[in-house]
Every structure is written in C-alpha cells, then in structure tokens.
C-alpha cells in the first residue's frame, strides 16, 4: 500500500503529460512526424520489441558498469580532495577540464585507444561524464560540515579517516545522492551518444541515429523510450537506495510538513 503511494503521483502526471502531448499533436500535426504522438511511439516500441530489447541490454550494460566505475572514482577523488589540499588544487581543474571536453570529442579518441568494438571505450565515456557531478557534489558535502561535530571528533583524537567516516561521509550523503540522481541520466546520455560513434550496431545509440537519419522517427523514439526506461529504472533505484541509506533524513522536517 505504502509503496504504491509513491508511484501514484508520477503515473497521474505521466498520463496528463502524454495526454497533452497526444492532444497537441492531433491538433497541430504539421510537424508531427519529427515528434510523433506517444501512441505511434508505443506502436513502434511494440513492433520492434525484440530489437529494442536487445539494444537496451547492450546499452544498459555499458550504462550500469560505467556508472558504477564513475561513481567509485568520483567519490574517491572527492575524498582525496578533502584530505589533501594539493590534491584539491590539481584534481579539481583536471576534473573540470575532462568534464568540459564534449563526449563527442572523446568518443573518437577513446574508440581508438581501447578499440572500436570493445565496450570499454563507451564505458570510459560514461565514466568521464558521471565522474564530475559526483565528484563536485560529494566534495562539497564532505567539506560543508558542522564545525562542532568535527571538534567533537578532534576531542576524541579520532584520526582523519575516522572523522571522515563518522562525520563527513554521513554529512555528504544528501549531496552524494543528489549527484547520483544526476549521474543516472548522464550515464544514459553518455552511453547512447558514445554509441553513435562506434561499437556494435545493434545498441540503442545506432538505432536512434539510423532511424532518425532515415526519418523513421517513430522507430527512433521507440529506442529513445528504451533509453529513458533505463534511466527511469536507475533513478528509481537510487531513490529507494537513498531512503534506505539515510533513514534519519526524512525525520529532519519541520513539524507542519510531517502532518
């Protein structure tokens, strides 16, 4: 019952949203083929189910593995940066630089570096994109801590690692989860764009470009829908994980909101 409640709002909003989309297109249908109505996309989705599902599996693997690696690296870098000032002065601009390089530019380089057919090049692109928000947000959460809590740990002569674990990490959790939510969708974009540039042709990325290139927009949007579904599933998982990892957080609300 309770778990259902969390989903009712998105469903209502979804019905409204898609209804509006469908309705608007049925009235002003001049450009309808570029942005087809949801009903047509759903039709294409069902017609191409096999191909879409295979593509989603291939792309999904790149997304999830790249996301995991990027998150781990981002968190490690954030820890490093809060620990050593020189690390901050060097890693931060580097991370910024890597992040500012458009994936489209990284794609050919990575494809060459790791091999066109290896999933590693696409994973590397996902990692590069996911890393930054995780790093920036987590580093922020690790430093923006209550001074009295740090002092308490100092009074216990707790080591830096321990203070990090007991104070900084819990404090960074809300920041981290916010970034993780950002990262899930970035990972999907990154994987799909990376696939435009190389790799297996049955993944979602090529399906989108190829169909769009031939103006088969309903097929393209069916693949987009699959990518969106991957993103949505990941996002929902993160939301569940967040609630599980920060049970105290929902308590810190004002009394009125609680009622």
């Amino acid at each position: 019952m309770n778990s259902l409640k969390g989903f009712s709002a998105p469903i209502v909003a979804g019905v409204a949203l898609f209804g509006l989309w469908e309705g608007v297109l049925s009235v002003f249908s001049s450009d309808g083929f570029v942005l087809p109505p949801p009903s047509e996309i759903a039709g294409a989705f069902i017609d191409n189910w096999d191909a879409v599902f295979r593509g989603a599996r291939i792309t999904g693997f790149v997304v999830v593995s790249g996301l995991a690696a990027g998150v781990i690296l981002g968190v490690l870098a954030a820890l490093l940066v809060t620990r050593f000032r020189t690390a901050n002065e060097t890693i931060t601009p580097l991370a910024v630089a890597v992040n500012a390089i458009p994936i489209i530019a990284l794609a050919p380089i990575f494809n060459n570096w790791f091999g066109l057919t290896s999933p590693r090049s696409n994973q590397a692109i996902v990692v590069a994109l996911v890393f930054f928000p995780i790093f920036i947000n987590t580093a922020r959460g690790l430093t923006q801590v209550d001074r009295s809590q740090i002092e308490l740990m100092e009074s216990y002569a707790a080591g830096r690692a321990r203070t990090t674990r007991e104070v900084r990490v819990p404090n960074a959790m809300p920041f981290f989860f916010t970034a993780l939510k950002l990262a899930t969708s970035l990972a999907v974009i990154a994987a799909i764009v990376a696939e435009y540039f190389g790799g297996r042709q049955d993944a979602l990325g090529p399906m989108i470009t190829q169909s769009a290139g031939l103006t088969r927009y309903d097929d393209a949007w069916a693949a987009v829908l699959a990518g969106t579904a991957i993103g949505a599933v990941l996002y929902a998982s993160v939301a569940v994980l967040e609630r599980w990892a920060m049970p105290w957080h929902s308590l810190i609300r004002s009394h009125r909101e609680e009622t």
Partner: protein
C-alpha cells in the same frame, strides 16, 4: 604534576580586522588532578573559549597550555579528554544509543561492551525508552542528556563540560548533579565545568573560578571546601555562605 596548567594565555579572534574580539587575556590557572573546577562568568566572557584552549581545539594567541604534563595537543591525541559542548552536537544520522557509543567505538570497545555501557548510560539519564530514536525526535533537554551520557560513557582523565545542565528542569538537574559527583568521585577524573548557576557551581566543585567580562580574565578563585555532598548539603548554611561569596564576586566583575 598539574592536571592542567595554563600560563599567560590570551586569545584574540579576527586579529587586525574591524571585527577583532579580545576574548581572553592573561589567563593563569593550575588545576590539580582530581579537582572539580567550575567556570562562571557573564555571557560572552570567554568560558567556552577557555575550554577550547584546554582541549587544544583552539590555540592560544599567546601563552601555553599543558595538560597532564604535556602540551594540550599531545593530551588530546592521547585521548585524555571527554567533552560535552554547549550545543549538544549529536549526529543526526545515529540513533541515540549509537551516539553514546561513538567514543567507545573510537576507543575500540567490543560491541557487547558498548551495548551494555550505552544502555547503562541511558538509564542514568533516564532515556531508556529512546535508545532507537534519532536525535531530531527528542526534546531539547533530552538531547542535552544524550550528550552528557556520551561524555560520561568512557572515563577520560579530564572531563570538560560546557553548560551541560542548562536545559534541564530542577529535579532532573539535581539528579544529574549527584550522578556526576558520584562518577567524579569513583573515577578520580579532573573536571572543568561551565555553568551559569551559582548554587550548581558551589554544590559541585572544589574551586569556583569567576571570570570577568570581555576580555575574559580570572577575577577570583573561590575554594569551596564543603566536603562530601549529601542531600542535606543544599540546605547547609556553609553552602549558602559560599553561594553568597560567589555571587558577590560575580556582582563585582559585572558591576
């Protein structure tokens, strides 16, 4: 060897800026092991700052602080201190019991020992029912009691407490005072305690240190010498005369 030895300590915040504040001036203080010292003085006179200097959470602008015969910094690293801050400083993400267990974890106590100690301490502060609650679900006084329990949970050689009983009602406060005295006697801890309550200062301590307003200086040190405290001590004329003496000293500095 003194438990705490402060020599010529001063503290200036934001030196050179327009917001410069001279918080402490010329502090000299020597505390014997096993003493119970209270600091009392007007709001903003530097009591919390002095506790910070002792625990080496802040460094004196000039002067030196020695604890257990070594620099304060070293004493901190040796885990000679237990502290209760003016604001409770509980961790939102830990339950009440886990908050109390935090220092014990750091000292490497076993899980079973920790569990036992935290429930003992919760009984002491009369919060047995709230072990599994999070701090944000407690009242102000209950949070303060958790912080006290955390400070008392292990037996540091020096215990620093900053207005720990401020948010407690009279009865709970008297109960906590007696428990604190019992623990102090049993463990031989050196205690430095900040309070605004003159009777509390007199009831608890061996010496009362009266501080003057900004910049904080030690205006008077009053030996209490009431011997073992009992329920009757609070009605003792000697007790009242000490209270009057401290009050007079305070009126003088604030005057």
């Amino acid at each position: 060897m003194n438990a705490i030895h402060i020599r010529g300590a001063t503290k200036v915040f934001n030196p050179g800026k327009s917001s410069q504040v001279e918080a402490l001036a010329d502090i000299d203080l020597a505390v014997e092991p096993g003493e119970f010292i209270t600091l009392i003085g007007p709001s903003g006179c530097g009591k919390s700052t002095l506790l910070r200097l002792i625990s080496s959470l802040a460094l004196p602008t000039t002067g030196s602080v020695e604890v257990n015969g070594k620099p304060a910094e070293q004493a901190r690293l040796d885990r000679d201190y237990g502290m209760a801050f003016q604001t409770s400083g509980l961790f939102d993400w830990r339950t009440v019991a886990k908050n109390i267990e935090l220092p014990l974890e750091l000292m490497g106590w076993s899980k079973a020992d920790r569990r036992r100690r935290s429930s003992e301490m919760l009984e002491l502060v009369k919060l047995g029912d709230f072990a599994k609650h999070h701090p944000s679900e407690l009242s102000g006084g209950m949070q303060q009691r958790v912080a006290i329990a955390r400070a008392l949970a292990f037996s540091p050689s020096i215990l620093l407490m900053d207005e720990p009983f401020g948010a407690l009602d009279e009865m709970t406060r008297e109960h906590m005072q007696d428990e604190l005295l019992r623990i102090w006697r049993d463990t031989g801890t050196t205690l430095v305690f900040v309070t605004h309550s003159i009777p509390e200062a007199v009831y608890l301590s061996t010496r009362v240190v009266v501080m003057s307003p900004r910049p904080g200086r030690i205006a008077a040190v009053i030996d209490v010498g009431l011997g073992d405290r009992q329920a009757s001590t609070r009605d003792d004329p000697a007790f009242f005369s000490k209270v009057t003496e401290v009050r007079a000293a305070l009126r003088e500095v604030e005057g």
